[in-house]
């Protein structure tokens, strides 16, 4: 759409200040920086600290209350926290990659990755920006989905919509777990291998939360081992086999 510029008055210069401020306050960080790079007037408006204050409180409502009153601009704080979370996500990604064998991850490592995200107190927007990228390993997406459901309490259609927007809702994982064979008439039975093949979207809407329950509990009681794989991995390493033996 070509704009006829009859006079040189720009779209914004004839808007009263309260309107222009309001519009700037509705922008996300990226668009605010873009607008602030347009001209001196816009730089001054878009990088004013009060606008960044509301960006901080919107994205990290809990952070606000835990701040000590030392001198730092809200803009600086937003920038530093954003970068820090990005670095944290990057290190989790590298960790998971290093621990994976043949696209599969043991639950102990998975839970450690989960705890790293949890410990940094990622917010919903942070998860979307840093963990829900389609070009990342699906196991990292999985950590994000699990975190949203278990920690942020976001599930169901809301979460599925976001997964679709991020183009990851159809990515699949396979969760396998080995249960200790039961004792029957003095004999220990074979260990059971159970598995579930689910999409991230399915996980978000799962009624009983059984798959996430398996992940959350890890190896405990009768569960000997839990392994999560990116789907596509065909062979199931059966390295844990206990044969029958007499008591």
């Amino acid at each position: 759409m070509c704009k006829d510029q009859v006079d040189s008055i720009s779209f914004f210069s004839s808007l009263p200040e309260d309107i222009t401020f309001k519009i700037a306050s509705l922008l996300q960080d990226r668009d605010l920086c873009a607008l602030g790079s347009c001209s001196k007037f816009w730089r001054q408006l878009c990088f004013s600290d009060s606008i960044w204050h509301s960006l901080v409180t919107n994205r990290w409502p809990l952070l606000h209350s835990s701040l000590s009153p030392y001198v730092k601009t809200w803009r600086r704080l937003y920038f530093e926290r954003h970068i820090e979370l990005g670095i944290r996500a990057g290190s989790v990604e590298r960790f998971m990659k290093a621990c994976s064998r043949n696209e599969s991850l043991e639950v102990g490592d998975y839970l450690q990755a989960f705890e790293t995200i949890n410990g940094a107190m990622f917010g919903y927007e942070d998860i979307q920006r840093f963990l829900f990228k389609p070009q990342m390993n699906v196991l990292l997406n999985l950590v994000g989905v699990h975190y949203c459901i278990a920690i942020l309490g976001i599930r169901g259609d809301d979460l599925v919509d976001v997964l679709r927007t991020c183009q990851i809702s159809n990515r699949h994982v396979c969760v396998k777990w080995w249960k200790l064979g039961r004792w029957v008439y003095g004999y220990r039975g074979r260990d059971e291998l159970l598995f579930r093949w689910v999409s991230l979207g399915d996980l978000a809407t799962e009624e009983d939360g059984s798959v996430l329950g398996v992940l959350r509990r890890g190896t405990i009681h009768e569960v000997l081992r839990v392994q999560i794989s990116a789907v596509g991995h065909k062979s199931i390493p059966w390295s844990y086999q206990v044969t029958q033996r007499l008591e």
């Binding site: 759409m1 720009s10 779209f11 309107i19 922008l27 873009a34 790079s37």
Partner: protein
């Protein structure tokens, strides 16, 4: 036609058209409401400057949708930037909270994920930075553009001087 005895308020736009609107709609216009309350006698006709009849049409559309619980269906997509700006100014003058939120959000949405060059051109913002100043700003804000599909400078060369 005395406005206080009926439920309709007469509003006259700057292009001379008279709209008879429900009192409830007039109440959403704080400016109009103030005029009504301040008047000692009944007002027959309230002039609304800066508001044209096509603005009133859209305001009435929005009102009808929001009364039916369908305010999300209201769209200003068909308006170009100047039309949107004029409408925003009209709504701002009338001091209509909800519609003001909708329109400012519409402007913000038009800016979403656009390159700097695009924003400048689209909204007619003149670049008054020296190349050095501009380079410094871009470097400082580079972090915000990481992970973009569109390069922030994509439309820079199309920008008019």
């Amino acid at each position: 036609m005395a406005s206080s005895s009926s439920n309709l308020i007469s509003l006259k736009t700057s292009d001379g058209t008279v709209f008879k609107v429900e009192r409830a709609l007039a109440k959403t216009m704080k400016t109009v409401q103030a005029i009504i309350e301040e008047a000692d006698a009944n007002i027959y006709m309230i002039p609304i400057h800066n508001v044209f009849s096509h603005h009133m049409d859209m305001i009435i559309d929005y009102y009808k949708l929001s009364v039916a619980g369908k305010s999300k269906e209201f769209s200003v997509e068909k308006l170009d930037n100047d039309e949107l700006k004029d409408f925003l100014l009209a709504v701002h003058y009338l001091n209509m909270e909800d519609l003001f939120e909708v329109l400012t959000q519409a402007v913000a949405d038009r800016l979403e994920k656009k390159s700097v060059g695009y924003v400048r051109k689209y909204f007619g913002i003149e670049n008054d930075f020296t190349p050095e100043e501009y380079a410094a700003i871009r470097k400082k804000n580079d972090w915000a553009f990481k992970g973009d599909d569109i390069e922030p400078e994509e439309d820079e060369e199309k920008q008019e001087e």
